[in-house]
Each structure stands twice: as structure tokens, then as C-alpha cells.
Symmetry: C2
Subunit: 447 residues, 2 copies
């Protein structure tokens, strides 16, 4: 009889037959966002420091790092590319997972493309498979997993990336099950590290674990327990059995479509996004200035601002997790840029605006059916000195799957950080293999 | 105010002042057993396969592997040395931890001795510190940790090794706390992998995690949460607070002395050891042969044989976890050797003896105060065709801290696998630094 893990691998392989043009179009958007997000972190001294330390330890391998000239061993490249992708918290989100999956899946896939070229469509399909695994486990593991302290992107993401790589390499069921068993017994990452550079390190380590688990499973280098999926549910979320929903498609559609990826327009916590959209909309419609504001109320559902831990941030890094900060910055500058979220002290004028912003909670307001995440909304209410009151409610912010970016809006993000890639974006649709794709991750693009 | 983690680091550093000649003598025994155990795994094709795979991935570094000629990067050497040490389940045990600590601590320490020499006494002291940390966390984490599925050697061992390396390198409190935070957020290892080669892999990975956590903490390469010890207790064992006993010495003595290390005389599960001693003793005293035995009863306290999962093993590897197998082998051959526990099918004559062996459980027998592990005993009862009945009870087997090996008995183990090292064992007491110690881990010893 087949084990649970073996059944799941078969099921996921079967689900690949549902991949069509729509799924690949969405995956291509994910790739564009991946390139934009990675290049947004180019020339970062902290990332450079990690690269230097790893070269000192393990030497310069031959594997590319997105946006950097150095090369690393394949396993270290998976680590650094994951670290880069999540460094600014600017990478895409999948709400089923309650976190980030692309920034783990894509670096581990890339590490297998260094010495071997794959059809680009097969690479895209492997990515779609990874998202599917992340979403299914995310949907079925239960809130207990995240709430008991696990960084779900890191834990579940490593499993998703393992399956994506196994699909890329066309591993047999047995080898894939062995690799999943190694990933599961090595998966980790605690939420207590949020707000530090260990958070993006988790993402890199998860990509590296997937790479290593596959590497150790090839040629039966290390043979372990090939049915560890039930243990993952048991130990990491106190499930007695693997939920049967793990074996089902979401509403009959693959997770890359339903609900789809959430692309970020600003390098800050997505829990700020509703308030950002509301504030931008009010500023566009009404004559609001720093001088004529008396007070700003921000209304959430109870606990809707749990991730926004800084009411009084002292620098841009803390500002990533502060609704007061993003609103004040918008009021003063009418825009948010990557520089607003860097490690510089907050200027006095912004601190002054923040003093007039107050958080409120209202459990009586019914969330919209369209809300994303489910049950969430944010209302921004600006009261002028004249007593004039303006109010805006956002249920699903721009970038989320329920208010998705169109191709042009996504390209705007790419243009900011990777202009060569943005100019050659049409070619991306016609490339044949992963060798061609490597041009898109080289600093400066084509030579 | 100092954090819990920072207090613990201070406390452990203070406990180092209790290290004296007795502690160092015990630690030296641990080193002798480490060398013997590692060399017992030399020329193993499975280990060779892992070494080859890692060289292919990350190149040949400069770090030594005990008993092998190849060298690896320091981080991979920590992994492989850990793997080697636990490959045969022949490495020492610390009952406070419910597992193995030396085989994680020593490989990670060694990886830091490749480009730098340390005073050998300081190396010993760092090892003693590692054992102290493993034992204190082991004593206070609660049985829930192991029982909910964690491989405690792997999880706790990584923390112990991190602290040992921090002591070796004389890191400041802050850097040590950062490294512990990285180790805690990466620690893992599930008991569901027991009985496979992933079990020794856990040990290697734990040593590697400790090495990497320190490496990433030096020069502030990655700065994270520096008070993660409370989260470790919370997430990995559902503790609400760190138990105050973590800050106390065991009966006023360091754990290397009280209870001390348990050295293994046979490469099999230590739960077999009581029965092995009982059987050997009966065979020595009485005229017992394969031909004149009618039946053998083995009596445990209820659940005392939980680790001995094979009643009908088919090969020597499974035989490691079979009381029937070790008794049958002893009756036939009067001794147990390393070859008895390798991957070869069990011969018919042994299978025939095993058929006459029966397990029984008796909850009414009072365990001895001297029992090790606490509450354990095994009685072997041999009934001859003549109706003559011989019976022997063992509470604390030979090798355990309550029936410790003397120096000569330990040297017997070393002689079997590392004759050069055994011949030069007296010199080990006089070596000055870790450069000199490296001779003891070279294949063949001194050139």
C-alpha cells in the first residue's frame, strides 16, 4: 500500500496536468516580481557581508547570485538568493500559506539550473508545483502552526521548494519521498526572530534545505524514512491525521490562480497596505496638507494590526511595521520609496505627524466578502482643522489577488530596480530555456 | 536588565570555574572514547559516499575528518564528523539529555581548530561546558520534548555545541547570545527518522548548525534576537517559563562528573546493555550451550524495552535494536563484535535461538536506587533442558556511570579500532595544544 507521502507526491504530479496558459501567465508575473524584488536589494552592504563570509568559508562556486557579481556554491547560492529576496520584505505573499513561498522556491530551483539547462516552461511548471504544495499545506496545517511560534514561510516553504525541485529534476516518487523526509526533519524557523535579519535568513535557509535534501537523496547518498508527512502535521501542528483536503485542489483550481500571488508595491509589511491605499486615495481626492490636519484615526477589526508592532518607530526598518509611519510619510511626501524603509532615523516632521494618528478597533463592522486577508479591512479617517472629515475604507489592497496589479503596474516595479530587464521584458515570453533566463538575473542584464 | 539568555551564558561561564582535575580526567575519557568510536567507522562505504557527495558540492576544504584522508570545508567537516561518530550508535550517552552530546560538541569544536591552535586544556574545558549545557537543558526541558517527537540529541545537542564553541573562542556574551538565537531558530530533528541513516545525519547537522551559527555571528554578519532561550522552551516543549533549575549545578557538581558519561562497549542500542551483561555473566558462571537451552525469558519493567523495536530482526542493523538478537549472538559466539551489527542477513542458527526467547514485563519489581536509566532493570532467565533455571538481574550495565569502565577497559575499545592511538595514549595526557591533538584523529596516527 502506498504511504501518505507517496500518495501526495502522485497527487501533486497529477495536478501538474491542470497547468495551462493562465497558470503560466501568473507564474511569469511571479518571475517578473522575483527579478524586481531581488534587484531592489542590489548593492546592499549587509547582503554583501554575508556573501563575503560565505566565500571565505566555502569558496566561490559557480552559482549566480541575483544582482551580484560574485558566485557561490549551489547550496550557498540558494541561501543567499533567498536572503536577498526577503531582505526588504518586498517579495510576494501567498495568503494560503500566511507568508512567502516564491522567495524560497525560486532560489532552490535556480541552484539546480547552474550546471544544467532546463526548458523554461518546465521551470515555470516546477514553480507552479511549488506554490501548489505551499498553498495546500498552508490551507490544511491549521492556525495552530503559526500561532505556536513557527515562521510558516520558512517551515512550509522548504517542503514546497523540495517538491518543486523534485519536479524540475523529474525524480521518481521514492527519491522525492526521501528528500521530503530529510526536509521535514530539518525544517525550522521561529517567529521570535521577526524584525531581525534572521527572518530573511530563514527564507534563505529554507531554500538551502530543499537543495541539500535533494542533493543528499540523489544516488541514495542518505536513505531515511520515506513517509514523514504525517509526522510533520503531528509534531509541527499537533494533528493526529493528515487532513484529506491536502489531496484536493482549491475550488478546482491551482493555487497560482486561486487565490493567486500577492505582489508588493512597497517594501513593508502587507498589513500596512490597506491603510496606504486609503491614505493615497484621500490625498488624491481632497485638499489635505500637513498644516491643515487635526487628527487621523485608523480603524481595524480587532487584532487586525497584530503584525504592525511599532506605534513609535525610531527608524525606517521599524517603520516597515508601523501604520503611523506609512501614513505620515505619505502625507508629507505623497509617495513611498524604498529609501523610506532603510536604517535611517525618522525625521522630526514625520514624528510630529505620527503624534496625531490614533489606532481604533471595531468588531461590529462586517468584513467584506472580497476582503484579503479574509476578515480584514482598514478605515483611514482624516479630520481637518476645519472639522471637515474624510473617510476611506479598503478591504483588499492594490497588489493583492482581489485587486491585482496589471502587467504595466508590475512592470513599474521592475523598471525602478532592473531597467535592462524591464526593457527586455517582451523577450522573457519567448525564451526557451533556463540558460536564456540567466540573463535576467545578471547584474546589468545582457553584456 | 539582563535577558534570560544572557544570564544563562554568564552562569555557564561562571560554572567553568568549578572545572578541576577530576572533570578534566572524565573529559579525557570522553576524548578517548570519541577517537575509538570514530575509528570504528573508518573505511565505511556509506560514509565515503557522503564525503564524496560533499566534495563534489563544496570542494575539498582543509578540515580533517576523523579516520579518513579526505578534507572538507570546516562546516562540512562538522557535519561528517558528527555523522561518523553516531553512525554505529557506538558513541557515548548522557542520561540527563536522553541521548548523545559528545558526538555533536566535539566535531563542532574540531572545526574551529583547523586554522587555529588552542591550548588542549582549554579545548577540554570547552567540551565540559558543552556537556554541562546539554545536561542542564536536558534535565529541565521535560519529557514532553522527547515524547512529542523531537530527537533530543539533535535539538539540545546543537545548543550545547554552540555554547562550547563560544567558550572555545572566548566570544562575548552578546555574540554568544546571537549565535544561540540562530541555533535555536534552526534546531530540528524528528524521532521518526530513528532506524535510518538520517539519525546519524541529525547529529552531523547539529554540529554543523553550531558551527554555522557562530560563523554567522562573528563580525555581526547576521544579527538576530539575542534572547531566544525562552522561545526554545516554549515552542519545543510548551513551557511558559524557563525553569529556574536551568541555572543550577546538578547536586553541586558539573554534569561531566554527576552523573557522568556512559561509554558503549557494543555498537547497539544501550537499552540492550542490561541484558547483555546479564547473559555474559550467566554464560561465564554456568555450563550453558546452544544445545542444552530450552527457553530464555527476559523481564523488563513495563515499557522498559520501548527502544528495542525488533523482535524478529532480519539483519545486523535491525539487530542493534533487538534483545533477542544480542542474547542469541552471545550464546552462540560468547562475544559481540562490530560485525554482528552490520548490514548482513541473520544466519539460521541465530534465528533458531531467538525463537526460544520471550519478553515479559513486571511492574511489581522495585527498581534499584542505583538503576540507570532511572527505573530500569533487565532480568535474564535461562532454563535448560534439565529444568535447571539460572537467573541474573542487571540494574546499571557496564559502561554506564553507575558501573563505569576503568581506564584499561576503555583502552580495550580504543585498541580494537585505533591501535596507534592506543599505543600513544600516555602522550595524550601531556599534549599542549590542539595541533598536537590532531595526530590522534589522523588515519594511522603519526606519519
Amino acid at each position: 500500500m502506498k504511504t501518505i507521502t507517496s500518495q501526495f507526491i502522485d497527487e501533486i504530479k497529477t495536478s501538474a496536468t491542470s497547468i495551462g496558459i493562465d497558470e503560466r501567465t501568473e507564474a511569469t508575473k511571479g518571475i517578473i516580481d522575483f527579478v524586481a524584488t531581488a534587484f531592489a536589494s542590489a548593492h546592499n552592504p549587509s547582503i554583501q557581508k554575508l556573501i563575503t563570509a560565505l566565500i571565505k568559508e566555502h569558496g566561490s562556486g559557480e552559482s549566480m547570485i541575483v544582482g551580484y557579481n560574485e558566485t557561490l556554491t549551489a547550496s550557498d547560492a540558494a541561501l543567499v538568493n533567498g536572503y536577498i529576496l526577503h531582505y526588504l520584505d518586498y517579495d510576494d505573499v501567498h495568503s494560503d500559506l500566511r507568508g512567502h513561498a516564491s522567495s524560497i522556491i525560486l532560489p532552490s530551483l535556480l541552484s539546480f539550473c547552474q550546471n544544467k539547462s532546463f526548458q523554461f516552461q518546465h521551470f515555470l511548471d516546477s514553480y507552479i508545483i511549488g506554490i501548489e504544495v505551499a498553498a495546500r499545506i498552508g490551507r490544511t496545517i491549521g492556525s495552530n502552526h503559526y500561532e505556536s511560534g513557527w515562521h510558516s514561510s520558512s517551515t512550509i516553504g522548504a517542503l514546497a521548494a523540495t517538491m518543486a525541485c523534485a519536479y524540475l529534476l523529474d525524480l521518481d516518487n521514492d527519491t522525492c519521498a526521501n528528500a521530503l523526509g530529510i526536509t521535514i526533519t530539518t525544517t525550522s524557523g521561529l517567529r521570535a526572530q521577526f524584525g531581525t535579519d534572521v527572518k530573511p535568513l530563514h527564507i534563505g535557509l529554507a531554500a538551502q534545505k530543499a537543495y541539500n535534501a535533494i542533493m543528499l537523496s540523489q544516488d541514495n547518498t542518505i536513505v531515511g524514512n520515506k513517509d514523514l508527512l504525517p509526522t510533520f502535521y503531528e509534531v509541527y501542528s499537533q494533528h493526529q491525521n493528515v487532513p484529506s483536503a491536502l489531496f484536493e485542489l482549491n475550488n478546482g483550481q491551482l493555487a497560482i490562480i486561486q487565490p493567486g500571488l500577492w505582489f508588493k508595491l512597497y517594501p513593508c509589511c502587507s498589513a500596512n497596505y490597506h491603510a496606504i491605499d486609503a491614505t493615497k486615495s484621500l490625498l488624491e481626492k481632497h485638499s489635505i496638507t500637513t498644516q491643515n490636519i487635526r487628527k487621523i484615526n485608523v480603524i481595524f477589526p480587532p487584532n487586525g494590526d497584530a503584525a504592525l508592532t511599532f506605534k513609535h518607530p525610531t527608524n525606517g526598518l521599524e517603520g516597515r511595521f508601523s501604520v503611523e509611519y506609512v501614513i505620515a510619510k505619505l502625507i508629507k511626501n505623497r509617495q513611498l520609496t524604498i529609501h523610506d524603509f532603510s536604517d535611517v532615523p525618522i525625521e522630526q516632521s514625520i514624528a510630529t505627524i505620527m503624534l496625531n494618528i490614533e489606532r481604533h478597533y471595531d468588531g461590529l463592522i462586517t468584513p467584506s466578502e472580497n476582503a484579503l486577508p479574509t476578515g480584514r479591512f482598514t478605515i483611514v479617517e482624516i479630520i481637518l482643522n476645519s472639522q471637515q472629515k474624510y473617510r476611506m475604507r479598503i478591504n483588499a489592497p492594490k497588489g493583492s489577488p482581489n485587486a491585482p496589479l496589471n502587467q504595466n503596474e508590475l512592470l513599474e516595479k521592475l523598471k525602478q530596480y532592473a531597467p535592462w530587464q524591464a526593457r527586455h521584458i517582451e523577450d522573457l515570453k519567448t525564451i526557451k530555456n533556463t540558460e536564456d533566463f540567466k540573463l535576467y538575473i545578471k547584474p546589468g542584464g545582457r553584456k
